[in-house]
């Protein structure tokens, strides 16, 4: 279409919209929020508080990394929090049985991977909907966590290890945990956005049949993603246990909805095929920092709950409304132009 009317403002609009992808919006919103909060909320801008925020967001961020991939393939994993609980419980059990922590940690991650593989096999092997399967394993894994540890908590973790989870790099005030967080986020981000695997992930989410016709082993891909999700949950299980020096069956109870919420808030489409990691990372920061700021500002828990929900809806609603408004405006302008 070579002969476009020069008066048509549409290209400008669509260019603008392309630039202002949801990613960009949520990143900008997060940055803006951090600046505003730092200047208005007492104690928010301190290095110590930043440290708290980072340690607080770590589990959600780690789980959200793989969840982003899973949701991008059009699936979901509601069992992550239960997996954190079960792997943590298993870790406690092994510790009670005198196994060395250096052995326990990889075993725990491996166990997580196994639990993820169970999800993956049910979903891709039997062709069952992931929402249903992972609701089942949500109950199963949490239940098994209670079977393993019962009502006891294992708390005598060595200080070297628990201290590391909260410690900082030298005197820089930067939490130790930042290093693995950034490394893992980079790896996942690169895989998703810059490798053939990432392309396959989006393809599998956008149209699994067409993906299969393009030689993508959709089932295998998804299965591995669940394994990765489980392994990550195992890693979070280790982190959670050491960070709170407490292995308990109810560790990370209810965290799955938070993880799903940040992934959606980050602009990943629940139907798969769309969404980018930077948006999700920004959403994790935004949500954690917002909660932190509200607490510091003595705002009640109730407000926190409402704000979380409202933010989630607004995140998807706002761009839709903007697009609708833009379309309406454009077609009105065009109609007006045509009637001249």
């Amino acid at each position: 279409m070579s002969d476009r009317a020069p008066a048509d403002a549409a290209p400008l609009w669509s260019a603008l919209r392309r630039f202002a992808s949801w990613d960009a919006v949520i990143i900008a919103a997060t940055a803006l929020f951090l600046v505003v909060a730092a200047s208005t909320v007492e104690h928010f801008g301190t290095a110590r508080n930043a440290g708290h925020i980072i340690v607080d967001l770590a589990p959600v961020l780690l789980l959200a990394l793989v969840m982003t991939l899973i949701v991008a393939t059009g699936e979901i994993d509601l069992s992550v929090a239960s997996t954190v609980g079960l792997t943590g419980a298993a870790m406690g059990w092994m510790w009670n049985h005198g196994i060395a922590l250096e052995t326990i940690m990889p075993l725990t991650v491996l166990l997580g991977a196994l639990l993820g593989a169970v999800n993956g096999l049910f979903i891709t092997g039997f062709g069952l909907p992931s929402l249903a399967v992972t609701i089942g394993t949500l109950a199963l894994y949490r239940g098994l966590a209670y079977v393993v540890l019962g009502d006891t908590a294992v708390a005598d973790w060595p200080r070297d290890f628990t201290g590391w989870t909260l410690g900082t790099i030298g005197d820089t005030g930067v939490p130790n945990i930042v290093v693995p967080l950034i490394a893992l986020a980079l790896v996942v981000g690169l895989v998703l956005h810059c490798t053939p695997i990432g392309r396959a992930v989006y393809a599998a989410g956008a149209n699994p049949v067409a993906a299969a016709y393009s030689g993508i082993a959709v089932g295998r891909l998804k299965c591995w993603l669940y394994v990765a999700s489980g392994a990550m949950a195992g890693l979070v299980g280790v982190f959670w246990t050491l960070r709170y020096s407490s292995a308990r069956a109810d560790n990370a109870y209810g965290l799955e909805l938070t993880v799903v919420a940040v992934v959606l808030l980050g602009g990943v489409s629940i139907f798969g095929g769309k969404g980018r990691l930077p948006g999700v990372l920004a959403a994790v920061v935004l949500l954690t920092a917002l909660q932190n700021a509200l607490r510091l500002a003595h705002v009640s828990t109730e407000t926190l709950t409402v704000v979380t929900g409202a933010l989630l809806i607004a995140a998807v609603l706002a761009p839709n409304l903007l697009t609708a408004a833009g379309d309406a405006l454009r077609s009105r302008r065009r109609r007006a132009a045509a009637s001249l």
Partner: protein, 333 residues
């Protein structure tokens, strides 16, 4: 090689250090924050009322804050916030004895006094613990009430809160030990412990399950206010009313009806408002240097009277009050 269990001995209790000055005055202008297991819980609201009164009396600031879910991890975030705000006195009912320690250490090194109440943490991580009652005393009282109601014979079961609840587990352990060792309880048998998770509905259906699983059950002991109310409601509407005894820990307002209709004969509890008051006084005393948490120190908690710090920095409110048809109308909480 490798790090295994027992390699790392935890440091002993740190204590607040310094020396106590029993004659000092309560400082004014202290900031108090109460962090319950979870907000929106009537029991803690009552404690909060007590603490708030004391805070006002001492001319301090008061805040009631906390998570809406009873989890240790959420509490950690709140403790971090309070320690940043350099709150003078943190009154805490812990969801986990260990998980909060590192945050509490930070808060204390920042100058906050940490007083736990209702549910303790590792003694090394706090300054003082205000115990509603002595664990042993509660366990014994529960068993005693039960035995009285079923003439010391038959199967009994426990409907507890969450499986990890520190208090409840301690009391249940006392009961277990006593059942084994005390010959006057020889004919009683604890057949099962179930968990209502301090959720009304779950406790309700757990009660159902207990009664069906154990046809010969004589009594249910529910050492949690949510559980006993749910169980009472179930019993009062079922054919088991009057057949199966129910006792435990409950609030008079919730249980009044069931005492009147004969579902429940007697139950016990301490006064949560008084507990809140004592916690606030204890915190204020520690923050004012009147006590340090060492055994044997004495302080005056307003109208509540004089209290002595026990071993491990524990201050005990007093024996639980038993409520029955005769006295229940005298209480309103």
């Amino acid at each position: 090689g490798g790090t295994t269990r027992g390699d790392d001995e935890g440091d002993g209790p740190t204590g607040t250090g310094g020396t106590a000055n029993p004659d000092a005055e309560y400082r004014t202008g202290l900031s108090f924050a109460m962090l319950p297991k979870q907000v929106n819980n009537p029991y803690f609201e009552a404690s909060s009322t007590g603490a708030e009164t004391v805070a006002a009396e001492l001319g301090g600031e008061y805040e009631f804050t906390g998570p809406s879910d009873a989890s240790a991890s959420s509490q950690v975030s709140y403790i971090d916030t309070l320690s940043q705000q350099a709150t003078d006195v943190i009154l805490l009912s812990a969801n986990d004895p260990n998980a909060l320690c590192s945050s509490l250490d930070q808060a204390r090194s920042g100058g906050s006094v940490v007083v736990t109440f209702d549910s303790d943490v590792d003694p090394a991580c706090r300054d003082l613990f205000v115990s509603q009652v002595d664990s042993a005393e509660v366990g014994l009282a529960l068993l005693e009430m039960t035995a009285e109601q079923i003439d010391g014979t038959g199967e009994i079961a426990v409907l507890s809160a969450t499986a990890n609840a520190t208090n409840q587990n301690a009391w249940i352990d006392v009961m277990r030990a006593e059942l084994e060792s005390n010959p006057s309880y020889a004919d009683m048998e604890l057949v099962e412990v179930v968990y209502g998770d301090d959720e009304d509905e779950k406790s309700f259906s757990e009660t159902q399950g207990l009664l069906q699983a154990h046809p010969d059950l004589r009594a249910i002991v529910s050492p949690t206010t949510v559980g006993i109310a749910a169980a009472a409601r179930y019993l009062s509407g079922s054919e088991y009313q009057g057949q199966v005894a129910l006792t435990g820990l409950g609030t008079p307002n919730q249980m009044r009806e069931f005492v009147k209709d004969g579902t429940v004969t007697e139950f016990a509890l301490w006064d949560p408002t008084a507990l809140g008051e004592l916690a606030a006084y204890t915190g204020a005393a520690a923050a004012s240097g009147i006590i340090t948490g060492a055994e044997g120190e004495v302080f005056t908690a307003g109208d509540l009277g004089e209290y002595t710090v026990g071993a491990d920095g524990v201050v005990t409110l007093g024996p639980p009050t038993r409520f029955n048809a005769e006295n229940i109308d005298d209480f309103d909480f």
